[in-house]
């Protein structure tokens, strides 16, 4: 009898502990949101929302400081779009090959290569970009400094490859085999079947892959910091630029006062971007669920 009571007691305790551990995740997200909002709002209030978001000049340490982050926002958007522009076709065709054409041995080999690519730390990408891409761009395009938006785009496009390839393979393989058989029976060859029947059927999954890639590219800091040159210019392909992420990282260690608060505001803007992307992702996933 006593034993039973003891067991009931531990069972109750376990229920409470696990429930609170589950809820703890909501607390974490809430705390992160709260801290970003609370520490990000004051500077936006002082600088003025329009001046902050649409101001084109960032000079946080000059005697008359100006805090306009439009260059960072545009750089982040251009950099992400550029990375998708290069990374998506590369990842898409690669995943089509792996899902539909590749022999098993080759598929396994390439997939483990892609896994390896996913595991390479971002500082290593940045380091190699710094030593290979930056001098390369400098000599090929004959520009004074190779640290540029282009270098960042190239590094990012390689870094987003694994997420694009993995998700695309999954969604291409999930297309029912009957689609393929039907198309083949109507006289289409294998290549036509894959590109005109299977891929359109998998397009939502590929959409998810793109959104994931965007999320990864817009949030990347270290690799970009090492190759983009880190000057607060308006974006241009061969211009030395600063992203939203690198704007926070590069000045944080020596910032104070309004400058520091403005950095928190930049983080808040970045966070809003990420949350919009997350919401978009959920929307795409939900619609896909409905369709099935």
């Amino acid at each position: 009898m006593k034993l039973k009571k003891h067991q009931e007691c531990t069972d109750k305790i376990a229920t409470v502990v696990f429930t609170s551990l589950g809820y703890l995740n909501i607390v974490f997200v809430a705390v992160i949101c709260l801290y970003l909002v609370v520490s990000g709002i004051p500077a936006i209030g002082k600088i003025g929302f329009v001046d902050f978001i649409f101001g084109t000049k960032w000079a946080s340490t000059s005697t008359v400081p100006s805090f306009g982050i439009l260059p960072f926002i545009l750089t982040s958007i251009y950099g992400t779009l550029g990375a998708i522009l290069i990374g998506l076709p590369l990842g898409f065709f690669c995943s089509v090959y792996l899902a539909k054409f590749a022999p098993l041995k080759i598929k396994q080999f390439v997939e483990s290569t892609v896994d390896l690519l996913a595991g390479i730390p971002s500082v290593v990408f940045g380091f190699i970009g710094m030593l290979v891409l930056v001098p390369g761009i400098q000599s090929i395009f004959d520009v004074p400094d190779g640290s540029s938006l282009l270098a960042a785009i190239l590094v990012l496009s390689i870094m987003i490859l694994p997420s694009i390839i993995k998700v695309s393979i999954g969604s291409i393989e999930a297309v029912p085999n009957e689609y393929e058989l039907g198309s083949l029976a109507l006289g289409a060859n294998k290549v036509e079947t894959v590109y005109k029947v299977v891929v359109p059927a998998a397009r939502r999954g590929i959409g998810v892959a793109v959104v994931l890639g965007v999320g990864r590219a817009i949030g990347e800091a270290m690799a970009v910091m090492m190759v983009a040159g880190n000057v607060a210019n308006m974006p241009g392909l061969f211009e030395s630029v600063r992203f939203l992420t690198t704007a926070v990282a590069s000045e944080m260690s020596y910032s104070a006062g309004l400058q520091r608060q403005a950095l928190f505001s930049i983080a808040l803007v970045l966070f809003v971007f990420i949350m919009v992307i997350n919401a978009l992702l959920n929307l795409v996933l939900k619609e896909r669920g409905k369709k099935k």
């Binding site: 997200v29 390439v110 800091a221 983080a267 966070f271």
Partner: protein, 283 residues
């Protein structure tokens, strides 16, 4: 005939793209690995791996960075395992209200999507300043804990869901209560899945740098585990960044990059072996 020609061209062009993209991907990875290892090998030396940087002898050693990395990984695992596995158990075994479950899962997804630089910033505000931990490995480990929660939760949940309901019913039928059934029947079946999650999380911790810049700091001191937790210290990735970008010591940076690549090779290998083992297991 014209149509036939068009189709042949279409077929060959599209096939070419598929081959070319795959080849390009493999070549990029191959280039990265070969480049790092070839440039790093001449600079490997026992002295570099086994000492700390010394201004008197003008030598650089990465031992403190290696130790800090190990410490931070251990500390993070200690925190993240109970939190992550517990949350997964709640979601898979206890949560009855679908709405609340959805909200928690959405929160976990959001955690997974937040970029590491934001974790670094909030970690600095919360752990270093609000909790008064200053820049220390402990603050870094706590930041990494929250970052890696989604990985652990997801893999644990997957393996919990793969345990057949009949196992639970059987143990309830024998008179076990819920916690007893989970502890003695369900969780032991999931060990492989939890270990895989841990390995994936360790991979992520090893490669993390932006979140540690402001939380764990840059110091290169050799400390014991307890002292290290309360003092600032740079991990291998942060050290790589500092040596490459700020001090221009590419030789040291290459050696660290080679160590990092070797670690991620090892982790990938182990993880894929383990997941194969899980797939082979049949209930």
């Amino acid at each position: 005939m014209n149509n036939e020609l068009k189709r042949t061209i279409y077929k060959n062009v599209m096939l070419f793209f598929a081959y070319a993209a795959t080849l390009a991907t493999v070549l990029v990875v191959g280039f990265i690995i070969a480049y790092v290892f070839i440039r790093a090998i001449p600079h490997f030396s026992w002295q570099l791996l086994s000492t700390k940087p010394s201004y008197i002898n003008e030598t650089i050693g990465v031992l403190p960075d290696i130790l800090n990395t190990i410490y931070i990984v251990i500390a993070t695992l200690v925190f993240v395992l109970p939190l992550g596995v517990g949350a997964a158990v709640y979601l898979s075994e206890y949560a009855k209200n679908i709405k609340i479950k959805k909200v928690i899962e959405y929160a976990i997804e959001s955690l997974a999507g937040i970029p590491s630089i934001i974790y670094g910033l909030v970690g600095m505000l919360v752990f270093c300043q609000y909790f008064g931990l200053k820049t220390s490995l402990l603050a870094g480990a706590l930041t990494l804990t929250i970052m890696n929660l989604p990985t652990i939760i997801r893999t644990t949940q997957e393996s919990l869901d793969s345990v057949p309901a009949s196992y639970r019913e059987g143990s309830f039928g024998l008179g076990a209560n819920k916690w007893y059934a989970i502890r003695t029947v369900v969780l032991p079946c999931c060990i492989d899945g939890i270990v895989t999650g841990c390995i994936l999380a360790v991979g992520r911790m090893l490669g993390e740098s932006a979140a540690l810049l402001f939380t764990a700091g840059f110091a290169h001191k050799v400390n014991g585990f307890i002292d290290a937790l309360s003092s600032s210290g740079s991990t291998l990735t942060v050290a790589l960044y500092v040596y490459a970008k700020e001090q221009g010591r590419f030789d040291v940076a290459f050696v660290i990059a080679a160590i990092m690549l070797f670690m991620s090779l090892l982790i990938n290998f182990t993880a894929s072996k383990l997941s194969k083992k899980i797939q082979n297991k049949r209930y």
